[in-house]
Symmetry: C2
Subunit: 760 residues, 2 copies
């Protein structure tokens, strides 16, 4: 039996009722007095000079209140890092991809704004465009930005250990080339905001973002105003998967329009706009060379990565870091070298998406590991077990593995799936594949990246929790309430969770890099313990006991070992806070892992977060040899995410990530031709639905992480990184062919099978 009352339970999300009854308010639902509606005009060219923009007719249209263009941006450039500010608020001299925004209109209603766009006359001079990242970085390619010779947005070179010596010592070396496609986040709620600028200069934005505080920071930095001049309020959000991490044109246009009109401006992209003119997952071409000992021990790896970054740098530094990172986990790798480039192309720019930069690498490394196993006649599970990172390991670049359940995950998954008993059957086109991954539980931001929390108590024993976390549907408000309830021995309905509003809730960097439970959860735990300590003092007097001897459970405070001797939580909060006898109890706390070290600028050695999750997937497929149709029958998943806080949400993340892995492995693909996205809708861009999901078997490897709240670690991104290669490996197991370019469509299968038959 669990030692916990609330932790590790299958607790439904606290907002479920609101959500299913339609009472949850999203930005699109909101109305402000005097509100206008904004729309943006997009470039139809992938690359063109802007010769002139004539807004006079649009401005005169009845109902139009303002039209803004790049000129209104006053030369301000944006980008999430100081080094990546390469984009005008609205395009000024040039457009660089189809969808690049050139003007914005605010009008009394959405239709008027939309109509007014047609009255804006933009004169373009088309320029030669470049779409292939490897061609883009060649001498003589059309230049997209004046400052970027050879269209290199960013590069990163790592060299840990002695790679040459490693390869010398290797018994077997393989080189392979893998490539991944462009995909979109596929959230159901497109980007939306309402922006209000008051006459004091304060800018308030209601926005469906994943990182309210970093949106505040980035906007303040870009506009050059203090942090308290910007307020970002996050209402309900219809998920993000990384696509709502960053500032996009929508926000800047709304700020320009709100400033110009003095009225709140609402802007809601339709789904097509969210797909074609914001950001998408970054495609990566990876040439990977790996050396192993005869027994499968990894000795060296050397990767060359070319990232198709699209028209702007955006997250280049993080993307390339993540590409490096995914090589050094989840296996021991003593020697590693990376050469990575992000190229500018005339395409929609990239942004984080579940497993940012890492999924693409895990796909390559895990598939190549199966090839190596096959080359050496080893069992794919055994070669993974042999190399698995263990608790106490430190990677070549300084990542500290303070807990690892990878070996257990592999053992449990293979055991449960009956791995040894039955493998692939080439005759029947049935196969099984394994994939492993490790994922950082969060990542350090360049500035403040602690999470904070505040707890207040009502007089009748109810708890108000203020946290800056961004619940975007993943349920972190519920997790924070659970942690509070556990510490204080109360129930979920005793707690009101308020999040997130940068003028109200304590700082939190937001929902990205699978950090929330670990960082914010710890902050909430510390804060709840602070409240518990304050109440224990009061209760101790009431019970004539020592504060340290008290236990908070079942809405009561007991003397440990004397379950009869207790006083209700409500009574204690009242006694503690009644005027003249006590004070108002306020709990506070913040958390940042003490073992984090920002990577050294030169050596790139550092420990970017407090702990790392470990995951294993075993996929089972059945392929129709006549049509090439791939049926993903079952995925067995074993996860070391430390102590689960909420099993329902944990399972949801594992299932969701595996479902997304299936989409990415088999069919998700933003198809682009001459710079134009051909399938910018969820009708034409195929994503798995719940109906498409395979049978999923979930195994929790419960290892208490010494740093995580109640021992919890990451769950959310890690699983896409192991399930995807598990599926690809299963396809190989079923067919004997390797397809190294995602997605693995039926067409590709059929072609490969044909080729194989021809060859044999």
């Amino acid at each position: 039996m669990s030692e916990y009352s609330v932790i590790g339970k299958r607790t439904p999300k606290i907002e479920s009722v609101q959500q299913v009854t339609g009472h949850a308010e999203f930005v699109g639902d909101m109305v402000l007095p005097r509100m206008l509606f904004g729309k943006t005009l997009k470039s139809p060219h992938p690359h063109a000079k802007i010769l002139n923009i004539d807004i006079t007719i649009a401005q005169r249209m009845p109902g139009v209140k303002a039209v803004v263009t790049g000129k209104d941006g006053q030369g301000i450039k944006y980008g999430p890092f100081r080094s990546t500010r390469d984009r005008d608020l609205l395009a000024v001299d040039k457009v660089r991809f189809i969808g690049d925004e050139v003007a914005a209109v605010a009008a009394v209603d959405e239709d008027t704004a939309e109509e007014a766009l047609d009255l804006i006359r933009v004169e373009y001079e088309p320029l030669p465009a470049i779409f292939d990242p490897e061609e883009a970085i060649l001498e003589g390619a059309p230049r997209i930005h004046d400052f970027a010779k050879k269209n290199i947005a960013m590069d990163r070179f790592w060299d840990f250990g002695d790679v040459d010596k490693g390869f010398d010592e290797a018994d077997h070396v393989r080189r392979d080339r893998f490539s991944s496609q462009m995909t979109t986040h596929g959230f159901l709620e497109p980007h939306a905001c309402i922006t209000k600028c008051d006459p004091t200069g304060k800018i308030t934005i209601w926005a469906n973002v994943q990182r309210p505080f970093l949106i505040r920071r980035d906007l303040a930095l870009v506009l050059g105003v203090p942090l308290n001049s910007i307020r970002v309020i996050k209402p309900f959000v219809g998920s993000g998967f990384g696509g709502k991490n960053l500032l996009i044109g929508l926000y800047y246009s709304s700020v320009l329009l709100a400033m110009k009109t003095g009225r709140p401006v609402k802007m809601v992209y339709d789904l097509k706009e969210s797909i074609v003119c914001t950001h998408r997952r970054v495609p990566v071409i990876l040439d990977i060379k790996t050396g192993v000992k005869r027994n499968g021990t990894l000795v060296a790896q050397h990767s060359k990565a070319v990232v198709d970054g699209g028209a702007f740098n955006v997250m280049g530094p993080a993307t390339l870091y993540n590409i490096g990172l995914a090589h050094v986990i989840p296996y021991r790798l003593p020697n590693f070298k990376l050469e990575a480039f992000q190229a500018f192309t005339n395409k929609i720019p990239n942004t984080p998406m579940r497993g940012h930069g890492q999924l693409q690498v895990h796909f390559a490394v895990e598939c190549q590991l199966d090839m190596i196993a096959e080359d050496l006649g080893l069992d794919p599970a055994d070669i993974r077990l042999k190399n698995a990172l263990q608790t106490g390991d430190v990677t070549v670049n300084g990542l500290e593995i303070i807990s690892s359940g990878l070996s257990e995950a592999i053992q449990n998954a293979t055991g449960k799936a009956g791995w040894k008993k039955r493998r692939g059957n080439l005759d029947k086109y049935r196969g099984r594949g394994i994939g492993c991954s490790s994922f950082p539980t969060g990542a350090r931001e360049t500035s403040q990246s602690d999470s904070g929390a505040i707890i207040q108590l009502t007089e009748d024993g109810k708890v108000i929790l203020l946290v800056g976390v961004a619940d975007i549907g993943q349920g972190c408000n519920t997790v924070m309430a659970q942690i509070t309830a556990e510490v204080l021995g109360i129930t979920m309905d005793d707690i009101t969770t308020i999040a997130a509003d940068t003028d109200i809730t304590p700082f939190d960097p937001g929902a990205f890099a699978s950090r929330t439970t670990f960082y914010a959860g710890n902050a909430v735990k510390i804060t709840a313990e602070d409240v518990r300590n304050q109440l224990a003092e009061v209760a101790a007097k009431m019970l004539e006991a020592d504060p340290d001897d008290l236990e908070f459970k079942d809405k009561h405070i007991f003397v440990k070992g004397s379950p009869g001797q207790g006083v209700s939580f409500e009574k204690v909060t009242k006694a503690a806070q009644t005027s003249g006898r006590g004070r108002i109890i306020i709990g506070r706390g913040s958390y940042f892992p003490s073992n984090v070290v920002w990577p050294d600028r030169k050596t790139q050695v550092g420990n970017i977060t407090g702990s790392y999750s470990f995951s294993t997937s075993i996929a089972e497929v059945d392929i129709d040899k006549n049509t090439g149709k791939i049926n993903l029958l079952k995925v067995t998943m074993a996860h070391d995410g430390g102590q689960p806080i909420n099993d329902l949400l944990l399972e949801g993340q594992m299932e969701g990530a595996t479902s997304m892995a299936m989409g990415h492995a088999l069919y998700e693909h933003l198809i682009i031709k001459d710079g134009k996205i051909l399938n910018p809708s969820l009708r034409d861009y195929k994503m798995p639905t719940a109906m498409d999901n395979p049978e999923m078997d979930i195994i929790k490897v419960i290892i208490h992480d010494p740093e995580g709240p109640f021992g919890a670690k990451e769950v959310g991104e890690g699983f896409i990184c192991c399930s995807l290669p598990a599926i690809v490996n299963a396809i190989h197991d079923a067919t004997g062919v390797w397809i190294k370019d995602l997605p693995i469509t039926s067409e590709k299968i059929l072609e490969a099978l044909k080729e194989k038959i021809t060859k044999s």
Copy 2:
């Protein structure tokens, strides 16, 4: 030169720009998705049985979404104290005054709701009504509530010292009868709310209230739900003067309608509705007997008060307490006896209004004191000086005077006004009068009445202050920001003040009883000091100094005495909060005066608040003997409010209170006939405007109160209590006649002058 940088300055209100540019959002401006509009149906009878209410036709009207009546209240009764819950959410069996609400409608727009009211058929059986409070408490009067024999809503008896012995020892005894009129608060923004009930049962109310947290408490108690089931959010408020302290029918109707429809319901009273169907100032008839020594020393007082409470008890316990209280300050009074009754009448019920229950008494006591002075041939200023409470005094009922500047106030006011040099001139119908008062700086609530505060810091040295105070136009947000700025050595624009939202900001009982600066100001000061201490630790390391040796000034932290050796506030906040090097700084604090003692149930001895202000007004009038027109020429005001925090706001309170005193003394009067208010509009109910104000001469008696924040005490209510009798005394000084029934209209003057001439 002041030792302070921000305290005691003429700082404009931080919301001024928003307010004057129309960007301040009041409840009436707000819009919620799916919002309905509510209206209530009022009784046309002062007293009647409800035989039947037929809502079937109204319910069927297109656009009507719900109609509720008393039945929907399910027997729930309300009132601000447990003992005063005598009112149905909507009238059930009976109506008790013209304006008593019997039904409410929610419809898609306001006009439809209004029209639907006409379709509700109410069958009444009129009952005999009673309007005179002295008649109401006689045997045989029509009974308004079954439970209240003789229509006594409340009584209170005090007996301190030995009154009989006191009168025995008196050289002179006077008995007089004074009475005051019914007045209305006269705020420009009528009552308004939007109420939303979500399917989890949570009720959120946006309301223009003075006490968001006590509205939450009262609503929770009445509905029998936990405190966290109710959220009260206060946007901008267009003043209250006590009229927005309590729950009124509007809120309950909106809750019933929001529950029934599942949609947000907006209700906005028009000004007439605010005047006729909410609450008004309580008229008091006071028979007062006072005994003095020949030299003017007060020895005994015995008062009988009859309060015209209207149809419901409402604030009876507080009203009668305040009537007693106003007798024992601002003078030493060793023996005091009170017999006070609040009568039910078929009129609009009472509620606090600036100087609640006290203004009426100070009017009587101060005027009678002038009569006594005249009887004894004493100077009215001297008799006041002789009896003035002094620092260290404790009143007969236990009020602790920890600081008193009353003597200084009298001396400074008389000096500045040239009191000794020129007094009244009966021939020229010019006169001068003096009035004094003392006012409690706040009052203890029956439950939690501490104020709390939380401070958060941005990374760039900006400060976010969360306080529960209710700024209703009086400027307390500005005062709280000033206190924060002073403690942290920063400026007003460094601070964002967030108030008030019961789910977000720390507890604060609200804006009533002139408590905010003293209670919340102290909480904010403690909280800012908590932040200062945390930052001092960080700065000390940066400056290699002792934390106690640091000074926070000019946005820098210096080593005391070394103004050159400093580091910027911004740098320190960044250093303190950068991840891995610090933590998120959160300040917390709460305040309740340590010297407050809740009056003993039996003896009624107790000290209800931390400190008391002292005030003196000298009024100068000029009367047209032919028309009776009274010109208030000038008021000289001296106030001991301790150390002023914001001179602009302090002066505004003094001027506003004196202006209201003028209105109450001379013309404000809600005229009621057969239970019907005849002048329910600001056209017919005359109030002074800025154009009517006399010349005002303000004297600040700056005495550091040992308990107040930076030494500050009350300002806001005290001045109405001294300015009103000063005006009445000046009229007597100018005319030789006494008018003891407010208001002193020209008609009354003319009549009294005629009578005087007849007599002489």
